[in-house]
């Protein structure tokens, strides 16, 4: 399950374990050696994880064992109750929606759900929503507005599903509508990119007042693989494309695409899901608390300004 660049770390960990076992077995004192190795392990982890290449971060963002939307929902939220269906086309399991408590506050929560194992992944369509998923999200936006409930969205998708039925049912139309509908929410909305923020399929539920991203999550207009296939006719150039696309949390903060980065434990969220989720929960409560002081008009204006000002321009001389 380890990612390629995690191997030296895992190897060193194994060696420490071996040494401990040996010391215990032989009843000799190797504590000094072990302590030295542990120090080295810590430095190694920091070295590796503070200097991850963009492509390595893409791999962390997609790592098995990384907490999924439902993990957050079950861990960070209380008394979650799932609401199904879009009243139109179906019930998309790649988009989980419902009501929950967060820090004592009722919220509408919308999560893009990948599977936690292969079977669930197939059932969840790898987190790629159909139009039905976006329609369900819009139904939740309506409910949030009607009852004055803040909205939390958890973004984790390779993108909206590219399939025949999805296109026939107006995938583009429904993403545009969802962007529009979310931008018009009269309630506070916070989005967190917890893993992969894949293109329009992610943005459709990302038009929030505050957009946060986990340290090793990514948010991109196109996957590195597809980008490489277009630019160099070679999907294996994905690492190069990942560099070029500037899709990491730090990049996005600099570009103004996200408002904040949530630190992950050393080694990435998949190495300590519980700690990661606690951080996200605390941050969500904080952000919702701050937004709760804004009026409807302020929320709308703030969201409008946030997205209206996206982009980099120069004057024609």
């Amino acid at each position: 399950m380890a990612l390629p660049f995690e191997k030296p770390i895992d190897d060193l960990s194994d060696r420490i374990e071996d040494m401990r076992a040996y010391a215990s077995e032989q009843n000799i004192d190797l504590s000094e050696e072990i302590s030295l190795l542990e120090g080295r392990l810590e430095r190694l982890q920091h070295d590796v994880f503070e200097n991850l290449t963009r492509w390595q971060r893409v791999q962390v963002a997609r790592a098995p064992g990384r907490p999924t939307a439902l993990d957050y929902i079950q861990s960070v939220f209380e008394t979650f109750t799932e609401l199904h269906g879009d009243r139109t086309l179906g019930d998309d399991s790649a988009m989980v929606t419902g009501l929950a408590l967060l820090g004592g506050r009722s919220v509408v929560v919308i999560g893009q759900q990948k599977g936690r194992d292969t079977k669930e992944n197939i059932g969840r369509n790898f987190g790629m929503a159909h139009p039905s998923g976006y329609r369900k999200a819009m139904r939740m936006f309506n409910m949030a507005d009607k009852f004055g409930l803040p909205v939390v969205t958890l973004i984790d998708t390779p993108g909206a599903y590219p399939g025949v039925a999805a296109e026939e049912q107006g995938q583009a139309w429904v993403i545009a509508e969802s962007i529009q509908r979310m931008s018009q929410l009269k309630v506070p909305a916070v989005a967190v990119v917890i893993g992969e923020g894949g293109s329009g399929g992610a943005l459709a539920v990302g038009v929030a007042n505050r957009v946060l991203i986990l340290e090793n999550a990514i948010y991109s207009v196109i996957s590195p693989e597809s980008c490489a296939a277009i630019l160099w006719r070679d999907a294996s150039q994905a690492p190069k494309a990942a560099e070029a696309l500037k899709l990491t949390a730090g990049d996005l903060l600099e570009l103004g695409v996200v408002d904040g980065v949530i630190k992950e434990p050393v080694g990435g969220a998949h190495r300590d899901p519980q700690a990661t989720m606690r951080c996200v929960g605390a941050r969500l409560e904080e952000e919702l608390g701050a937004l709760s002081s804004l009026s409807e008009t302020e929320l709308l204006e703030q969201r409008y300004a946030r997205f209206r000002n996206m982009g980099r321009l120069e004057s024609v001389t």
């Binding site: 008394t79 979650f80 009243r87 004592g104 009722s106 004055g148």
Partner: protein, 298 residues
């Protein structure tokens, strides 16, 4: 369709009566012999397989309302006979007989209650009265319940069970679809939740009006829920219908329901919805969120 049976039946005998009667019952689902008293004590669920039988309106209210909290609203109006309708028997006669047997003037029981402490208006349809068909009285009681709930700051919970429109009231019964629908507007404006519970069967004009306009819509397992009945559709397409067609679980997949909830879980679920929508839920352990992740139920 149950509505059909109601019309064809001149004078119901004990055996073809829809309402639970007789000492023993053979389960439709698992063929077990069930003692009827046990069924009644078991929320009208088969004691062997859990099959959901139709539940009388009073039992439904008793199940949902907190003990002693129900205050009846309905019952002061009864049906007129605007069309002087007569088939094998005058409509007024049918109404009288049903009223006598069901101890209420029409196919609806409404009132105020608390539901795990949440103030609600309950509107429960009585399928054993004219197949739960919706005429002027049913429409009016639902409309009044919605409006009064809005005035009193109560959420609305309806429990549908209906063969469709009451055809003996002609176009006036059709108009009840619009009447019940417009009355919901008052609740919406007051931002009060409306939760619709669909039970077996919910069909025709009731499905195509208030019952599917809930902010949240849940159904009991296996309930038949449709606009046109399966027989009508079979006549139209002259083919077998898909497996599970028009049943609750099928409609959940089709995106039409928020959930399918078993009867023993219904009250708690409704309470959860209401408290989350109204923001009245007290967190069981507020501190848990910032500290150790709590054991949230999913």
């Amino acid at each position: 369709m149950a509505l059909e049976r109601w019309f064809r039946r001149k004078r119901p005998t004990r055996s073809d009566d829809n309402s639970p009667a007789g000492l023993w019952l053979k389960c439709d689902e698992c063929n077990a012999q069930i003692y009827r008293k046990d069924l009644e004590k078991n929320l009208y669920l088969c004691t062997e397989c859990g099959h959901h039988y139709k539940m009388p309106a009073d039992a439904r209210v008793a199940m949902l309302a907190d003990a002693g909290s129900f205050e009846r609203w309905s019952g002061t109006i009864k049906g007129a006979d605007p069309l002087a309708f007569e088939d094998t028997e005058p409509y007024v006669k049918r109404l009288e007989r049903a009223a006598e047997r069901q101890k209420r003037p029409d196919a609806i029981l409404t009132g105020a209650a608390s539901l795990q402490g949440e103030p609600v208006a309950l509107a429960v349809m009585d399928f054993f009265f004219a197949g739960g068909s919706m005429g002027s009285v049913v429409g009016e009681e639902i409309a009044r319940a919605a409006e009064r709930a809005a005035r009193e700051g109560r959420s609305l919970v309806t429990v549908a069970a209906s063969g469709g429109a009451r055809m003996q009231e002609g176009a006036l019964s059709l108009m009840q679809m619009a009447k019940t629908t417009v009355a919901l507007e008052a609740l919406s404006r007051a931002k009060l939740p409306f939760i619709s519970v669909l039970t077996d069967p919910t069909t025709g004009g009731v499905t195509a009006s208030f019952a599917t306009l809930g902010d949240i819509i849940v159904s009991e397992p296996q309930a038949l829920i449709c606009f046109a009945g399966p027989r009508v559709i079979q006549q139209t397409i002259k083919q077998d219908l898909p497996e599970g067609f028009q049943r609750a679980e099928f409609l959940l997949q089709k995106g039409m329901l928020d959930d399918v909830v078993t009867r023993p879980n219904l009250k708690a679920r409704l309470a959860l919805y209401l408290s989350l929508l109204r923001g009245t839920l007290t967190p069981t352990a507020t501190a848990a969120v910032g500290g150790e992740p709590g054991g949230a139920a999913v």
